[in-house]
Symmetry: C2
Subunit: 208 residues, 2 copies
DNA sequence: TAGATTGTTAATCGATTAACAATC
DNA sequence: TAGATTGTTAATCGATTAACAATC
């Protein structure tokens, strides 16, 4: 097993990926660590240090080939393969995520949506069947799912996480504003939307 | 002016606030740094260190009064006053944010929504008038707005930010997956939703 | 009072930056 | 070749943790 990579380094990879995609789309062939880091507001040292945690992708005197680096970063991030997802909670945020084509394009396939509202159970959203949440465990027993998306209300977030974990999910993407407890083998990422607004307010207030 | 507070400390405040609110709602009167930090998965040292950047809120031998600490943290975060917002881009994410009552409850008032779609310009969403984006500058000239929310497509995110800054906004809450450039007096918080999913994928792939 | 717990100082740890030999 | 730029080691910086005197 590779040595553990620093969490800060990991957290910057998606930004690199996003920007490299942009450059690639624009047809840029090569880029140096100085130019790339400058655009991202970090130092060239940091960029090279970060990349070196995953391998050697550049050439002295030349820099990086954008398309090659993009492909390498994608692979490191697991974006070269498919991921099966389920989404629990088809409220506003859930629907916003589902309508975002960026994910399916990158191989994140939502197999099924779970909700408790009789209005939508049995329907389809973005061509994905909506099932009642009580059937979540049964579904997971039948289908291999890597990632569970929690867009359900806070009150049921923890029990939803428990069901997902029991069903063999190894990654949870949580939008409910609560600290979830999951076993250490399960990876947890949260998007605390309101925390972000409150942090903006705090920084404006504190002036830093 | 107070000495600058570490960005990591700032970033944890919203979590403290959220959890204290929970405790307060449950009627808990007092809590020690050990108990509180334990629930949040950090050390008691870190919690006390963080709080001490803003003042002294506890009592030796007793701990913290939940309601007092909550009020203090809210004040530090600027949540004891109103903030005027405008939202640019009433797509899926924009609408999801607008339907989230959590913000208006905390004093974040969306004065107006801007979009370019003829289907919604002139309508109201959640009782907030929708105006054409071309009128954004004019609106900002007439109304004091602190925070601009960018939920518009990436392609127009930077020019939207420029308009907001020119209009006197001092905080930008950005949901477009691009690195915005803003002057140093403007505070910028972004919610890069897809970065978060990609980071989850990366961590699962890398095993850390 | 005795026990508990804070606020803060000092020690440790980790992350960032600087520097440079290797080399395209 | 000469100039440019990488990958990596060493130096610096900042953040976290440990420890403890102060005190409720």
């Amino acid at each position: 097993m590779r040595p553990a990579i620093s969490p800060r380094t990991l957290a910057r990879l998606p930004m690199y990926y996003r920007y490299l995609e942009d450059l690639n789309r624009q047809g840029v062939e090569r880029i140096s660590s100085h130019l790339l880091s400058g655009r991202l507001g970090i130092t060239a040292s940091q960029l090279r240090q970060d990349l070196s945690a995953f391998g050697q992708f550049g050439q002295q005197g030349y820099g990086y080939r954008v398309d090659e680096l993009l492909r390498s970063v994608a692979k490191v991030m697991g974006l070269d393969r498919e991921h099966n997802l389920v989404l629990v909670g088809a409220g506003n945020i859930g629907r916003a995520l589902l309508s975002y084509d960026n994910f399916s394009r990158r191989g994140f396939k939502v197999l099924r949506i779970f909700d408790v509202s009789p209005d939508i159970v049995g329907q389809r959203i973005n061509d994905i069947p909506v099932d009642h949440s009580r059937n979540l465990a049964a579904f997971l027993a039948e289908h291999p799912v890597e990632i569970g998306v929690i867009t359900a209300p806070s009150a049921v977030a923890q029990q939803t996480a428990d069901l997902l974990v029991a069903g063999g999910v190894t990654g949870i993407w949580n939008f409910a504003p609560v600290q979830l407890k999951v076993p250490s083998h399960v990876f947890l990422e949260h998007v605390h939307i309101s925390d972000s607004l409150f942090l903006l307010s705090l920084r404006m207030q504190a002036g830093c």
